[in-house]
């Protein structure tokens, strides 16, 4: 099992959710986040001082999925979240040791 984390632009969230639903992912955790990358949070026409760094609002989506689906899920997220402009975000994958469904106690794949 793997944890897929995606940091994306807030206004692309609906598109990403719909695309994931179409793929068959029905559960995820969504949090509001802030961040910046190489461009220090500056837009293409930033007018401020060069050395200032800005935190830009983002959405973080976290999905636990089975290993076989990882590549496809990442593709789906990347395609639906992309605008081609700076600030589109990143997606990364880490291994998950175990998962438990709180209501039933089901474990691992049965909990997904």
């Amino acid at each position: 099992m793997k944890l897929i984390t995606a940091v994306i632009k807030p206004h692309k969230w609906e598109e990403v959710r719909e695309a994931l639903e179409t793929f068959g992912i029905t559960g995820m955790t969504v949090t509001e986040a802030s961040g910046y990358g190489r461009q220090k949070g500056h837009t293409e026409v930033y007018r401020g001082a060069e050395y200032d760094v800005s935190l830009v609002p983002k959405i973080r989506v976290e999905i636990v999925t089975e290993d076989e689906d990882v590549k496809d899920v990442v593709d789906v997220v990347v395609k639906s979240a992309s605008t081609g402009k700076i600030g589109d975000g990143k997606v990364w994958v880490v291994p998950v040791e175990s998962v438990v469904r709180v209501r039933t106690g089901e474990k691992d794949e049965a909990a997904l």
Binding site: R38, Q39, K40, E44, V45, R47, A49, E50, Y51, I86
Partner: protein
């Protein structure tokens, strides 16, 4: 720019600012640029041009530091933010309409000059704040080539000062220093593959190799650059302060006033100057007078006078009384000594008065606790000593010993042993009597005696104080040594003279003084590791606990004192040491005494806020056998490639065997050693633990079950047993 049709006719230019503008980029530096356009260009056009410019650069992985501004906005930003103004002083067009950029730069410069009197003090304050935060390039363990005092930012700041037309700076020297630091930074970027300005000690060998230097030489080279740049900056700011403070001269105002203060020396304009009569080149005392006056009054030497000092003769050896008196006056002057010593060292005068200084000049200390390089540390020790002269009969001997106490570093061997004879030689050269010179040499040789014994021996053991008394010989010498010890420690770092350490050293000095006054004062044949002043508490256990014990915590110096009473048993000290470790306590010392089947121990720990409940829980778990110390803090495999050292100090005590263990500091160490000693059938009367960076130096006073020192062969066997542990 000509490839971008959208850009035509709107005055677009790509302007290099900051380091890019100054042409001082290193391999991984950010590219600082501003896309400038004429005021009034539609936003959509600007956005289109900007995107067409930036995306290819971002996609190529260029580290771009970008902004987009109209010409009006450029001027406004420069006016509002002095850092932006500094960045624009060297602005140049790298693409687009260059003449417009030149005009812009001229306007920025003109505005800078117009407003310099208001803005430069802001810049000066920001500089102070930065340097007090980051430190000085010449003095820091981690050399930040850009942000430290004497680094690239200071060099850039000076160019800005020059651009203000209020002061001038020696251009060639400044540019040479700047270029030399940039050379090092270039190699640093290449070696690390990243845009870093910090030359850490780990990187020095690789950078040195790439530049064809020995690592020591690179270290010295960078610190020297930092020191010279810092000196230029200090002098320039001082000149600026004078300019800003000047009142407009009237035509009748006289030239600068010369206030004579000593033959050949005067004060003029807040600086010490050489008057020329007597001629400093003919009379070696003039230079000494100038230095003494400067140190005493806390005034700088005028740069011209400092330069002249480079060529004055030294006094004939041995120095005449007056020469020595003047030098001592400077050394006992206090904080004023620091800038003066820096001046005369840069001028080359220290080399002539004290050639031995060369070995310690700008040398970093091997210990991580030092704030300063060894030379600066020695001067600082002198300054602290100047505040302690009331405590000694001979301030001249104290301050001279303080200046020379580390003179043996930079040579092979123990720096105290090497330094002693060196210091004596120097003192003789400076005209001290043979007796005084011998005292100075002895002080230098002994300058680590008190801190070593205080932290690594039981100060309550009468033998410890007796050892000190024997080494120093008389009360006057003891006073000098005590003052020298305090000076060295306070000039090292606050931790070196913490309340705890100072308490131990003062305690030891008091006891040694008592022995010197009356050699039987402390004799106690029944001493068994418990200080006479601390009454033994009566054991009061409740019978309900299987393993009853009591814990009492109270504040002690900058840490806490934990007193634990429990049923006496083999290995109790080890178990309690383990419990304290698991409870997160850093133990400094421990004493344990058994009386009527009950064991009482007092523990000095470093934490000022101990949670008694957590401690009680852990102790209960350990005593009841519910917590396996082997599992929680067991040593496992040896953690360091360097093997541990186990030493038996034969002469340190007559009532116990003193065993010192030097090993990699880690949590289970004390417990493991204490357990090994208990398993060998011996008891630990007291333990004195200290760390020195990553190394632990733990001293145990070990006794046989009947309370006496171990016979030599048994002590050797015990040492072997401890050596066999995976330390």
């Amino acid at each position: 720019m000509s490839d971008l049709p959208a850009a035509g006719g709107h005055g677009f230019a790509l302007v290099a600012v900051g380091g890019y503008g100054r042409r001082e980029m290193s391999p991984f530096s950010d590219v600082d640029v501003v896309l400038v356009h004429r005021t009034g260009v539609p936003a959509a056009t600007v956005a289109r041009v900007a995107e067409q410019l930036w995306y290819p650069l971002w996609d190529d992985g260029v580290a771009l530091d970008h902004a987009v501004r109209s010409t009006d906005e450029m001027l406004r930003t420069a006016a509002d933010d002095y850092r932006a103004a500094l960045g624009m002083l060297d602005a140049r067009a790298v693409a687009g309409e260059a003449p417009a950029v030149d005009a812009l730069r001229s306007e920025v410069l003109a505005a800078w000059r117009r407003t310099a009197r208001q803005r430069l003090p802001v810049l000066q304050r920001a500089n102070h704040e930065r340097v007090s935060r980051v430190g000085w390039l010449s003095q820091s363990a981690i050399m930040d080539l850009k942000e430290s005092g004497g680094g690239l930012r200071d060099a850039t700041t000076m160019r800005a000062l020059v651009a203000s037309w209020l002061v001038d700076v020696p251009h060639r020297e400044l540019e040479a220093l700047r270029a030399a630091v940039l050379d090092v930074r270039d190699v640093l970027h290449e070696v690390t593959g990243r845009p870093t300005d910090r030359l850490t000690p780990e990187l020095v060998p690789d950078v040195a190799a790439a530049m064809g230097f020995a690592p020591d030489h690179l270290d010295l080279h960078v610190r020297d650059l930092g020191r010279r740049t810092a000196h230029l900056a200090t002098t320039t700011w001082r000149r600026l302060d004078a300019v800003l403070a000047e009142r407009p001269r009237t035509r009748t105002a006289p030239g600068p006033r010369l206030d004579p203060v000593a033959p050949g020396v005067a004060v003029a304009g807040g600086e010490i100057v050489l008057t020329g009569s007597p001629d400093p080149a003919a009379d070696p005392l003039v230079a000494l007078r100038a230095v003494a006056e400067a140190a005493r009054r806390g005034l700088p030497l005028s740069p011209a006078s400092a330069a002249r000092l480079a060529s004055v003769p030294t006094p004939a050896e041995p120095w005449p009384t007056e020469a020595r008196r003047l030098l001592v006056e400077a050394l006992t002057a206090g904080p004023g000594l620091v800038p003066v010593w820096e001046e005369i060292d840069l001028a080359g005068l220290v080399d002539r008065w004290l050639p031995e200084w060369r070995a310690i000049r700008l040398r970093g200390s091997s210990s991580p606790v030092h704030r300063f390089t060894i030379d600066r540390h020695s001067v600082e020790a002198c300054v602290v000593a100047a505040g302690l002269i009331r405590d000694v009969a001979r301030p001249d001997i104290l301050c001279t010993a303080a200046l020379l106490h580390d003179i043996g570093k930079g040579h092979d061997g123990d720096h105290s042993e090497v330094g002693g004879p060196l210091a004596e030689q120097v003192a003789l050269r400076w005209g001290f009597s043979p007796g005084d010179a011998a005292t100075i040499g002895a002080l230098v040789r002994q300058h680590l005696l008190l801190p070593t014994l205080a932290t690594r021996r039981d100060i309550e053991d009468p033998d410890t104080a007796a050892n000190v008394a024997e080494r120093v010989g008389d009360a006057e010498h003891l006073d000098l040594l005590a003052a020298l010890t305090e000076s060295d420690a306070r000039a090292t770092s606050p931790a070196a003279w913490s309340a705890w350490r100072a308490g131990l050293i003062r305690g030891l000095v008091t006891k040694a003084r008592a022995v010197l006054g009356d050699s039987d004062a402390l004799a106690d044949p029944a001493y068994e590791g418990w200080p006479a002043a601390v009454p033994l508490p009566a054991a009061r256990f409740t019978s309900s606990d299987a393993e009853p014990f009591t814990v009492d915590v109270r504040p002690h110096h900058d840490g806490s004192l934990v007193q634990i009473s429990a049923h006496a048993r083999i290995g109790l000290l080890a178990a309690l040491a383990g419990a304290l470790s698991v409870a997160g306590q850093q133990i400094r010392s421990a004493r344990l005494v058994d009386r009527d089947g009950a064991s009482t121990s007092i523990w000095e720990v470093a934490d000022a806020e101990v949670e008694p409940d957590r401690l009680v829980r852990r102790i209960r778990q350990v005593l009841a056998g519910e917590l396996s110390l082997e599992d929680r803090i067991g040593l496992g495999e040896a953690s360091s490639a360097v093997p541990a050292q186990v030493l038996v100090h034969g002469g340190s005590s007559t009532s116990a065997t003193v065993v010192e263990v030097r090993a990699q500091d880690r949590r289970g160490l004390v417990w493991a050693v204490a357990r090994a000693i208990a398993e060998a059938g011996y008891a630990i009367r007291s333990a004195h633990l200290s760390t020195f960076g990553p190394q632990a130096r733990d001293v145990f006073y070990v006794v046989t079950p009947d309370g006496s020192a171990l016979p030599e062969p048994e002590a050797a066997v015990l040492a072997e047993r401890i050596r066999a542990l995976p330390l």
